[in-house]
Subunit: 215 residues, 2 copies
DNA sequence: GCATATCCTGACCAAATGGTCAAGTTTCCA
DNA sequence: TGGAAACTTGACCATTTGGTCAGGATATGC
């Protein structure tokens, strides 16, 4: 490319157009994919929801799978962050409280992303690359070790650390993935911040206060 | 219908053909719908997986939605059954232990049905009729009352009964809905009976042993 | 002002899809 | 054994779908 403006040095306004349109497409796509899955979502629906003509969507993304894999990358980045609270130098009560709060916060603010990923996992996670799967496994193993360490030090009641992690994930993601069920259970149309706070304290009460001896 | 053999009095072999083919179609459909959702699943795929020509599927079911709603009816029947363990005349430890075991048993033996329903809930549960939604709400309310009664009697630590139920659902269904994630977490290709038993004891340890005072 | 890069988009394409139909086959019972 | 009911299924239909293309519009920088 010999033009003065190249892909590697776009002007701000060019970057603004591309960044804005890609963001619009991704935001619409995550909502639709989270409800209808990869196969059930139409490119025309993504286009319509993002306010762009269908051919324009193909201007920014090579194909349907490219949109989908971009979304997976974004979600995995968020997944990692919450787990950062679990470090061996921390007391488990503090670390796990922060983790539970962070997960519930993610469920509240990124319900579409959580549901999108849940949908992908329901179908077996086939869109995740080997590297992404390996990464999740390694991270999980690392955190299971931290939890096991706390158990060995008598800081947490001894249970299977893997199943313990599963429990933390299940109870926090439920509020995003199955928000319709959760809302109906608490007899509301939608979950409120108060519901998430009750969820947090319930999970802390039941899981932490059993597993972590009082100070 | 003036024929000797009518819809209301089919012979055994006729019933055998219809029952067998309907069962084949439903079994294939629940697996496909559980992975790809309503919109993403093709009638041709259901036909192929059940070993029938596509037109034959339409001989037994009016349309795609008819297959889907039949599956929802079946799943709701199963959902009810597990909750039967929660009765006020029982001690909570016994009742909840049985409930957790029943739910995990369902997750192990009916993973496709569980995933199918999870998929439907991910999309907002729009296929459930008003009556079905009301039924689920009433059942949930009834069991929340039983749990609340146990709390008032001091038999269970006081937490929000609705969120307590959510926790029970989340931690047991996870093993069916996200079996790929659970298997990867325990570093196996597939969950075994032993994994379900570890799951059961972990859930009982963490939830019951905290919430229910020792005998 | 002009050349180049980027963006936009209606029309189009081949393949796929939910569903139908008519005719043949099989089953069943009097 | 024959007639009726139930079952089977290849071919077909109209519509939908993922994706492409060519040409025009806009933005930008010298």
């Amino acid at each position: 490319m010999t033009g003065k403006k190249t892909k590697l040095s776009k002007s701000n306004s060019e970057q603004r157009i591309r960044a804005r349109n890609e963001a619009k497409i991704l935001k619409s796509a995550v909502e639709l994919f989270s409800r209808k899955g990869f196969d059930g979502t139409r490119i025309a629906e993504i286009a319509e929801a993002s306010g762009l003509p269908k051919a324009n969507v193909y201007y920014y993304f090579a194909n349907k799978a490219a949109i989908y894999t971009r979304l997976i990358e974004g979600v995995l980045t968020g997944w990692d962050r919450a787990l950062e609270h679990i470090t061996p130098d921390r007391e488990p009560r503090e670390a796990l409280s922060l983790y539970i709060a962070a997960k519930l916060d993610y469920s509240r603010k990124h319900a579409s992303e959580s549901r999108f990923f849940a949908n992908e996992m329901l179908r077996g996670g086939k869109f995740l690359s080997r590297q992404q799967k390996r990464h999740m496994k390694e991270i999980t193993r690392e955190y299971a070790r931290v939890i096991e360490g706390w158990m060995e030090e008598g800081k947490i009641v001894r249970v299977d650390p893997n199943h313990f992690l599963i429990m933390l994930w299940a109870t926090t993601q439920f509020y995003a993935d199955f928000s319709t069920v959760a809302a109906a259970t608490v007899e509301k149309k939608h979950l409120t911040a108060s519901d998430f706070e009750t969820a947090r304290s319930t999970i802390v009460d039941i899981i932490l206060n059993n597993c972590v001896p009082p100070r």
